[in-house]
């Protein structure tokens, strides 16, 4: 069974934006697009850079460093220099709060 962790209020993340969330020694990136939320590992798979500093557009997070791009819904790496997919984590909104399962 997944263990849902409370992250923040939905409104704490702007529409089409990302926030860093650290839990139990790991870092995650939590995204909001409209009323939908997503979560992935927080570090780019190319060079350990925090994705929370990157730009989200059209369900794609662009790493702030080398512009490695990932689909935030699936974690799929969308081309060089990022070749390794990003791990995703279940995310949901409940009572206006974002929760993710780590």
């Amino acid at each position: 069974m997944s263990n849902w962790i409370d992250v923040c209020a939905l409104d704490d993340i702007d529409d089409e934006d990302v926030m860093r969330f650290d839990h139990a020694g790991k870092t995650y990136a939590v995204y909001r697009v409209g009323e939908a939320v997503y979560a992935t590992d927080g570090l780019c798979t190319h060079e350990q850079v925090h994705l929370c500093d990157g730009l989200v557009m059209d369900h794609v997070i662009e790493c702030p460093k080398h512009n490695g791009r990932f689909d935030i819904r699936t974690g799929k790496a969308l081309g060089a220099p990022a070749c390794i997919h990003l791990a995703t984590h279940p995310a949901k909104v409940e009572g206006g709060r974002i929760c993710i399962a780590c």
């Binding site: 060079e47 500093d53 460093k65």
Partner: protein, 416 residues
Amino acid sequence: MAQLPCIVIVGAGQAGARAALTLRERGWAGRVLLVGEEAHAPYERPPLSKRSLLTPEAAATLVAEVSRYAQDGIELQLQTRVLSIDTAARCVTLAHGDDAPEIVHYSKLLLATGGKARRLDLPGADDARVMTLRHANDATRLATRLGPGSTVAVLGGGFIGLEVAASARQRGSEVVLLEAGPRLLGRAVPADIAGLVHALHAARGVDIRLLDSVSAFEPASASGRITVRCASGTTIAVDTVVIGIGMVPEVSLATAAGLQVRRGIVVDSTLRTSADDVYAAGDVCEFPNHEGTGTTVMESWANAEAQAVVAARNMMGDAEAYRPDLWMWSDQYDHGLQMAGRCIEPSHVVTRVLPGGQLAFYLDAEERIVGAAGFAPTASLARAFTVARRLVATQERRRPAELGDPERALKSLLAA
């Protein structure tokens, strides 16, 4: 049995490795031979002046996992030198250690030989404490010499010099930085942004000395230090000297093979050299700039990446013209410096304040955004600059008042 066609790539750095990987991604079915002189699998150079100095125990940032080459059927030959190229017979001669040289025929050849750090031809410059930073081994050596109680003289106020200065300060070393010009980053970065960089280094304790250079290095006696004698007449006793005054493209093989060479190996817009079926990419490549006003050697990660991809496609039969990705970044302390497009001789400059720094847009006479440069804490700059790069890439036309308005979300300008 007919031999498989073989693409030989000389130089296993960013450009060489990316080209090899791209060939496979694009379905090249022949052999791919990737030849490098170093013992390390292809690695990225930008971390050498930063992470490799700050956390020496950290693993190198590889262009791809080592296992990927075997998986992709790329024959990665490390610690291998290319002795010569015969463009008439379409073959290269390889030397692996003391083994007998091996001749390999190519159907296409890519020269991605990079460059070597420029040195100073001065008395004492061959002292082991006078270092340059280009290869992973250089970083490993330099990292052991940094720390509290050590003093470093950095020669050159460009990207490498400033990154080394920042890393050395973060490790606790005392740092003196000598720059021969009247300001830091004089070659590449607009003066307003360079001024912010200067202020940060000064605040972090770097002793910056402009308009000064070295006339000689003198081994000092008892202290084990080396004395840097400056043109201004002053002397500085330090443990380590790092020369960061640029690189020289490694063209010796190309020159010996009779290829057209100026500063780098000269190519046309499709990255073909003057010899049939021979291409060049990365730091060694001198290519026609997109303004059609001359040729450029561009030393940047983004250029090596993008040229490698175009060279790989063209070796497979395309004839795509290379358009340089004018983008570079530097990391110093917790700050990022980024530039995109053309930041020189703009008609207008619009400055946008970022938390802890600023972002400048450079506009032409029609108010098209032709360049951007920013310096700020990484978390503040990174996202803003991703937007800036997009605006520059499409040369969007935006009103200066909008661009500079801190109340207006930068991202909203993309759709405006």
